[in-house]
């Protein structure tokens, strides 16, 4: 009696069955599923932008940028005070946070090595980056507004915002410093340069474009941030720009100083808060205003990001 022909025997259940066709089909289905979700995520961005543009574009005009906000007549409302507030806030935040952030990054990357203190600071910065922005608002409220008596001013806002963007600036600048090849440092040391001379004349120039990119992205995050400013008491209805028009002051250095000190301690609003106020109102006219405000805000952010991308591209071209 010969054994049954090999091919007619059904294999026992524990033997490997390739089932290649089925597995290939499953694989293709999975790939399609992943592609679909990826395109879906990109599609959401498209829908969001389309919604904003459709609702807001007819409302964007010269009047909208030049007029003060108005509660009674949405047709006449503008966001001049919010644009000026954002400008003031961004410039002051940059002035406060960039020097400190760069200093901290240089210390951690060039001076501290892997000491216990450096690792602790690093761990601390990583955690600060994860603290919700609204908690920074509480810090600003308690320290700058009440304790230092800066009140609900542009200055309080800028100081609070500086603390918020500081971890982002430090992390980005450190990456830029770490990307500088260590041979450059060694060459400088070999010629007898001190550590600061090495950093100042060789490492910093090489890392500068990368740092600029990081700083611009950090500041653009600060511009879009709303919650901490609501806590320190930025108002949603401000019919004046900080300090008032510069032409109200005498054209002397005292006049300029007066203008600056008035502006620093003036109440203010910023674009995201103005938008929040408009969205929160039930009337549809205000929703159109909000969409128009979003277009202006996104335009500013897009400009900043484009600058950052351009710097990065320029730097890559220079390297090759």
């Amino acid at each position: 009696m010969s054994a049954a022909p090999l091919h007619s025997r059904t294999p026992p259940p524990d033997v490997f069955r390739p089932r290649l066709a089925l597995r290939r089909r499953l694989g293709a289905a999975f790939a399609a599923f992943c592609l679909l979700l990826t395109l879906g995520a990109l599609g959401v961005l498209f829908v969001l932008l389309a919604q904003v543009l459709l609702a807001g574009w007819p409302w964007v005009s010269r009047k909208f940028i030049a007029n003060m906000p108005s509660v009674l007549t949405p047709e006449q409302a503008g966001m001049k005070s919010a644009i000026y507030g954002t400008l003031w806030l961004a410039v002051l935040t940059g002035l406060f946070s960039v020097p400190v952030g760069l200093g901290a990054a240089i210390y951690l990357e060039e001076y501290a090595g892997r000491s216990r203190l450096a690792r602790f600071i690093q761990f601390n910065i990583a955690n600060l980056a994860g603290v919700p922005s609204i908690v920074y608002g509480m810090l600003g409220l308690a320290v700058f507004v009440r304790w230092l008596r800066c009140d609900r001013s542009v200055l309080s806002g800028a100081l609070t915002m500086s603390l918020l963007v500081l971890p982002v600036i430090i992390i980005a600048s450190r990456e830029a410093l770490a990307a500088v090849p260590s041979s450059i440092r060694q060459a400088a040391f070999a010629l007898g340069a001190t550590r600061w001379q090495t950093v100042r004349h060789h490492v910093l120039p090489a890392a500068l474009p990368g740092m600029m990119t990081g700083i611009i992205l950090a500041l653009s995050r600060g511009i879009g941030e709303t919650a901490p400013l609501i806590l320190i008491g930025a108002l949603s209805y401000v019919p004046f720009v900080p300090g008032g028009p510069l032409s109200d002051y005498p054209l002397t250095s005292t006049g300029l100083r007066q203008w600056l000190s008035t502006a620093l301690f003036d109440q203010f609003t910023v674009m995201p808060i103005q938008i929040y106020d408009w969205v929160a109102r039930p009337q549809p006219e205000f929703h159109h205003l909000a969409a128009a405000g979003i277009i202006v805000l996104l335009g500013v952010l897009l400009g900043m990001n484009a600058t950052a991308v351009a710097i990065r591209a320029w730097q890559q071209r220079r390297r090759t």
Binding site: R23, R24, L26, G27, A31, C34, L35, L37, T38, A41, L42, V44, L45, L48, V52, V100, G101, L102, G103, A104, I106, Y111, A112, F120, I121, F123, N124, N127, L128, G130, V131, P132, I134, V135, Y136, M138, A142, V143, R146, I170, T194, R195, W196, S220, G224, E225, T226, A227, I230, L231, P272, I275, Y276, V279, H287, A290, A291, I294, L297, L301
Partner: protein, 298 residues
């Protein structure tokens, strides 16, 4: 001689100055903790911590007053959990597609475009939830949806955390050594099997860390939630109802005219401390997981 000493002094001064800059971050942390602790201490003198953490009714502004924080925590986790439900599958699938399937040019285009989603201010997402997601997506599907609801907030918070998850998962997937993939292919595994049984388990701790970091961000998210989820603290799991999160409550009090120093005012610090403690815990776990992951492959 003199020049050498001068130079040394200058170097030391610069070193000190830089150290002070770095110390600002420590001062910030200490200040945050000090402010939250001292302000909530005043609150807990008048309200017992037991009532605060276990109470099921939150009505600090209305008589009869009640300070149970559970409804706010419930609202926060309803939104954050819903956000993860949106962001984790989509973010992970996108990451798998970008790292395992997509051609290089597609990756180069898709990654920066996805990053734009993370760069859009959160107040814009609040607008999107209120004027698009609720009336044009949720209402047609479930007519009983309220104008302010947890689901629309969860969806937009999910969208804004998607790039975080996608980019961190992508890094984790690409860190899995090529040799592991090649070994699996040599055993005639298909691409699906390599992706899900070799690469994904290999990158698991990176994926877990990404999810935790996104969770912390969703818990702390403020403006979109304040606009879309409503202002009615409620102990519910129904995402179509109006609820209130911890962050939205803090915004509500700050926008109103509650005088400083009153008990109502101090509630924002006790709620803020709770928020801070929760996000800090999630972040610490995430960083620990991430560090372990780095040790494996480096």
């Amino acid at each position: 001689m003199l020049r050498g000493a001068l130079r040394k002094a200058r170097e030391a001064a610069i070193h000190g100055l830089l150290l002070i800059c770095a110390a600002v971050s420590i001062v910030t942390t200490v200040a945050i903790i000090a402010v939250l602790l001292s302000e909530s201490a005043g609150f807990f003198k008048q309200v017992s911590p037991l009532d605060f953490f276990l109470g099921t009714r939150w009505a600090p502004l209305l008589e009869p007053r009640s300070f149970g924080v559970l409804p706010l925590i419930c609202g926060t986790f309803l939104v954050a959990g819903g956000a993860l439900l949106v962001a984790v599958p989509a973010g992970l699938a996108t990451a798998v597609f970008l790292s395992e399937y997509a051609p290089n040019w597609f990756r180069q285009v898709a990654k920066p475009v996805l990053e734009i989603l993370a760069g859009i201010p959160t107040v814009v997402y609040g607008y999107f939830a209120l004027v698009f997601v609720t009336p044009h997506v949720l209402k047609p599907l479930w007519p009983q949806t309220e104008i302010f609801n947890a689901a629309s907030a969860a969806i937009v918070v999910g969208i804004m955390t998607l790039p975080t998850i996608c980019s961190l998962c992508d890094d984790a997937l690409r860190a899995v050594p090529r040799s592991l993939r090649e070994a699996a292919y040599a055993l005639s595994a298909t691409k699906l099997e390599v992706s899900t049984r070799i690469v994904l388990p290999g990158a698991l701790s990176g994926v877990v860390a990404a999810v935790l970091l996104a969770l912390a961000r969703a818990i702390g998210e403020t403006m979109a939630v304040a606009l879309a989820a409503g202002m009615t603290p409620k102990l519910t799991l129904n995402p179509l109802e109006s609820i209130q999160t911890m962050t939205a409550y803090i915004v509500q009090v700050s926008m109103g005219d509650t005088p400083a120093g009153t008990l109502e005012y101090q509630t924002i610090f006790s709620v803020g401390s709770t928020l801070f403690a929760i996000t800090l815990a999630v972040n610490l776990i995430a960083h620990r997981v991430l560090r372990r992951f780095r040790e494996v492959y480096e």
